[in-house]
């Protein structure tokens, strides 16, 4: 068994109104920042998984992300491998897992 550290990034799907993102965008003028647009505010969940190998660990994260951490009607998610004790794990590897 090895331990793998993942991050799951959950963001509002394209087209879903994101009032938080809009509020952040609206504040940029007060900072004198220009040229920033399309701000979307999401959520990042980091977690460790014990599994025999990385694919097995990723499968657990995949299920967790799809069933609990995101609501498929309104949110997309991406899974990011942060590191692992196993030699097969590559720190910083990431994958666009939106659906």
């Amino acid at each position: 068994m090895s331990t793998f550290r993942f991050a799951v990034n959950v963001t509002p799907k394209p087209g879903i109104l994101d009032p938080q993102g809009r509020a952040v965008e609206g504040s940029l003028g007060h900072l004198g920042i220009v040229g920033v647009s399309e701000v979307r505010v999401g959520r990042r969940v980091e977690l460790s998984v014990d599994a025999v190998d990385e694919p097995a660990a990723r499968a657990v994260v995949q299920r967790l992300a799809a069933e609990l951490l995101s609501n498929p009607l309104i949110e997309a998610y991406g899974i990011e491998l942060l590191g692992g004790t196993s030699s097969t794990a590559t720190a910083g590897a990431s994958e666009a897992g939106s659906r």
Partner: protein
């Protein structure tokens, strides 16, 4: 015989006693159902009350969805049992996929605690049959995530199939549209309450139990609770349910 209606109590529910009281006023015997129990104690219908189940962590309603009692509620709903979700209870039902759509953060980003007006779209459902007439009902809201969302195809299907139960309206009953004075949270098509396709599971954001007797300032919500109680009683007597899935 008085019909027994379950009121689910999650950690963080805070309208369970008000809901039990409202159901009593509406003629039922309320039965508390603890979130850890896997049985519904033979109740004739279930209400998921308002509050902040499991602290509303992650997303409102999502953690509650996985509690033992919700598995029993899902089975009960699948068998045609009547289930009403109020406010946080609506969020739980939406997260569980028992009613269509999702409740997003209010467009204003503010938690809103005030009175709004809603009107029933139809009076031939288990949740509206005792309302008598279509008129504006003045009910309190208290939520941070009440902006009803579903994609355009789903919204069209909901309207076509008569699954929109309540919409926000102006106090005179005219459509609220996107006017934030009357559609408080920015709900698409001003939807305040929906049902599933079969018509036996419904959710709404406003609180009928907080407007269920004169001492609370309004009895406008009593008709909704009474509809549920009478429909549950009819079912207990083996009569044909009121609701029709599609118009």
């Amino acid at each position: 015989m008085t019909v027994r209606i379950g009121v689910v109590v999650f950690p963080g529910s805070n309208c369970d006693r008000d809901t039990a009281r409202g159901l009593t006023v509406a003629g039922a015997e309320p039965v508390e159902l603890w979130h850890e129990q896997a049985s519904l104690d033979g109740v004739a219908a279930v209400v998921l009350p308002g509050g902040f189940a499991y602290g509303d962590y992650l997303r409102a309603g999502v953690i509650a969805r996985f509690s033992p009692v919700m598995r029993a509620v899902a089975d009960f709903a699948r068998e045609g049992g009547l289930v009403l979700g109020i406010c946080n209870g609506f969020q739980v039902l939406a997260e569980a996929g028992l009613v269509p759509g999702a409740l997003l953060r209010n467009r204003s980003l503010r938690f809103l605690g005030r009175d709004v007006s809603i009107a029933a779209e139809r009076l031939d459902t288990s949740f509206t049959s005792a309302l008598g007439e279509r008129r504006a009902l003045r009910l309190p809201i208290a939520h941070g995530e009440g902006c009803y969302y579903a994609d355009q195809d789903t919204l069209d299907a909901l309207e076509r199939d008569g699954q929109v139960l309540f919409r926000y309206v102006a106090p005179d009953g005219t459509p609220a549209g996107d006017d934030p004075r009357h559609n408080p949270n920015g709900s698409l098509r001003a939807i305040a309450g929906v049902s599933n396709a079969a018509g036996n599971v419904a959710g709404l954001m406003p609180h009928p139990e907080r407007a269920s007797e004169a001492v609370l300032g309004s009895e406008d919500g009593l008709g909704i609770l009474r509809s549920l109680v009478e429909s549950a009683a009819r079912r207990t007597r083996g009569e044909r349910p009121v609701e029709v899935g599609a118009r």
